[in-house]
C-alpha cells in the first residue's frame, strides 16, 4: 500500500521540525489555510445537504449528537483513575470533539481508495464539534465547585456560562463550517461552480501545505513527550483506537455504508486541537494545556494520519462485511 502524498508533507514537516531546521511557515499562512479548509469542507457539505430531504437525515443527526455527548462521559472516568478532575475533563473534551484536518485526510484516503461514503458526514463533523466541549466544561466545573466547597471557584477560574457558550458557538471553526454549509446549500451546484477552481480543485493541494505546517507544530510538541512519555502515548494511542469502535458502532447503527462507517470511526477517533484547546483554556484554566494538547496533537493526530485511518477502514470493512 502506497502512502498518500499529503501524509508525506506531514512527515517532511515533522522531520524538519525534529531536526531543528529553520523552516517556518508564517502564521498568517496557517490561519489562511485553516479558513480555507473549513470553508471548503462546509461548502461541500452544504452542496450535498441541498440534495437530500432534511427529515431523512434528522434521526442520524440526533444519533451523532448523542455520540458527541456520550464519548466524553465514557472517557472521563477512565482518565480520573490517574488524573486530577480538571485535566480528565479537559482531555475528555478534546477527544469527544473532532479534528477537521484528520477528517480531511480521511476523505482523501477513501477517495484515493475509490471508496464512497455518505455526504452527510460533513454535517456529522459539524455536529460533533461542540457537545463534548459542553460536557467537558460541566465535568470540570462540577469538580472544581465540589473541591472549593462551593466557593467562588467558578468566577475566578474562568469564563461564565453565557460567555463560554458564545465562545464555543461562535468560534472560528463553527462559524466557517456552518457558514460554508449555508452558502453551499443556498447557492447550490450552479452558484458554486465558478468557485470550484479554488474550493474544490485546490482542496487537496492546499491540504499538503497545511500538513507541512502541522508536522512542524507536532515536532514542537515532542518535548513534552519526553517528560510525560509513557502516559501520553498510552492515552494518545489507546483512546483513538477505543473510540474508533464507538464511532463504527454508531455508524452501523445508522445503517451507513462501509465508507460512511469508516468516516464516523475516524471522527470519533480524532481529537480536537483547535476548538477544544481554546475553549478549555478559558473555561478550565486550571487544567494543564500541555497535557491535553500534547496527547491530541502530539500523538493522536499523527497516529490517526499514519496508522489509524487505514486501520479504521479495515475495522469498518470487517464489521460491515463490505
Amino acid at each position: 500500500m502506497q502512502i498518500d502524498p499529503v501524509v508525506l508533507f506531514f512527515l517532511l514537516g515533522l522531520a524538519a521540525g525534529w531536526a531543528k531546521s529553520d523552516l517556518k511557515l508564517p502564521s498568517a499562512l496557517y490561519d489562511t489555510l485553516s479558513v480555507f479548509l473549513l470553508l471548503a469542507i462546509g461548502i461541500k457539505g452544504g452542496l450535498e445537504l441541498a440534495k437530500q430531504p432534511v427529515l431523512q437525515i434528522l434521526p442520524q443527526a440526533l444519533l451523532v449528537l448523542l455520540m458527541g455527548f456520550l464519548i466524553p462521559l465514557l472517557i472521563y472516568p477512565l482518565l480520573r483513575w490517574r488524573l486530577p478532575q480538571v485535566d480528565a475533563a479537559s482531555i475528555a473534551a478534546h477527544y469527544g470533539s473532532v479534528s477537521v484536518v484528520t477528517y480531511a485526510v480521511g476523505v482523501a484516503y477513501l477517495t484515493r481508495q475509490g471508496v464512497s461514503f455518505e455526504s452527510q458526514t460533513t454535517l456529522f463533523l459539524v455536529l460533533l464539534e461542540m457537545p463534548a466541549l459542553i460536557v467537558g466544561v460541566v465535568l470540570a466545573r462540577l469538580g472544581a465547585a465540589r473541591a472549593a466547597g462551593e466557593g467562588d471557584g467558578t468566577a475566578v477560574a474562568g469564563h461564565g456560562w453565557g460567555k463560554l457558550l458564545h465562545e464555543v458557538l461562535l468560534g472560528k471553526s463553527m462559524v466557517l463550517l456552518l457558514g460554508g454549509l449555508a452558502i453551499g446549500a443556498l447557492a447550490g451546484p450552479d452558484g458554486i461552480k465558478p468557485l470550484d477552481r479554488l474550493y474544490l480543485d485546490l482542496f487537496k493541494p492546499v491540504l499538503t501545505l497545511f500538513l507541512l505546517e502541522m508536522g512542524l507544530v507536532v515536532a514542537g510538541k515532542l518535548g513534552i513527550l519526553r517528560k510525560q512519555g509513557f502516559f501520553l502515548v498510552g492515552i494518545g494511542v489507546g483512546l483513538p483506537l477505543a473510540l474508533s469502535w464507538v464511532g463504527i458502532g454508531f455508524g452501523v447503527l445508522m445503517g451507513l455504508s462501509p465508507g460512511g462507517v469508516t468516516m464516523l470511526g475516524v471522527l470519533a477517533a480524532s481529537a480536537s486541537y483547535i476548538a477544544a484547546p481554546a475553549a478549555m483554556r478559558m473555561a478550565v484554566p486550571q487544567a494543564n494545556p500541555a497535557l491535553s494538547l500534547g496527547a491530541a496533537l502530539g500523538i493522536t493526530f499523527p497516529f490517526n494520519l499514519l496508522v489509524g485511518i487505514p486501520l479504521y477502514h479495515q475495522f469498518a470493512t470487517a464489521v460491515t462485511g463490505g
Binding site: 502564521s27 483547535i274 478559558m282 486550571q286
Partner: protein, 100 residues
C-alpha cells in the same frame, strides 16, 4: 510644554485573555492602551506564536500610579494562578496629563 509623571503598567500574557482584559480596563475607566504581539518564555513554557492558542500579547497602559497598581493587583489575583502572566510598572513622563 510640561511633562507630567505617570505610571506605565506593562502586561505580558496569553493572547486569549485580550477580550477579558479590555473589559476590565473599560470597567475601570482606563482611557487608553497599546497592544503588540509578542512571544516569549516563562514559567509556563515557551509561547512560540506559530500556533493558534499559543502566543502572547504585551499591553502597555499609562495611568496614575494608584490606578495602575490596583489594576496590576486585580489582574494578578484573577489570572495569576493559572495563566502565563508577567506584569511590571515603570515611571514615565507624558505631555497632556489630562489624557491619562
Amino acid at each position: 510644554m510640561q511633562f507630567h509623571t505617570r505610571t506605565m503598567l506593562t502586561i505580558v500574557t496569553e493572547a486569549g485573555l485580550e477580550n477579558d482584559l479590555v473589559e476590565l480596563f473599560e470597567a475601570r475607566r482606563i482611557r487608553g492602551w497599546t497592544i503588540v504581539e509578542a512571544r516569549g518564555k516563562g514559567a509556563h513554557g515557551e509561547k512560540h506564536g506559530n500556533f493558534d492558542a499559543n502566543h502572547n500579547i504585551q499591553i502597555e497602559l499609562i495611568a496614575d500610579a494608584a490606578s495602575a497598581e490596583a489594576l496590576a493587583e486585580t489582574i494578578q489575583q484573577r489570572y495569576g494562578a493559572h495563566f502565563a502572566l508577567v506584569q511590571w510598572l515603570s515611571e514615565v513622563r507624558v505631555l497632556r496629563a489630562e489624557k491619562f
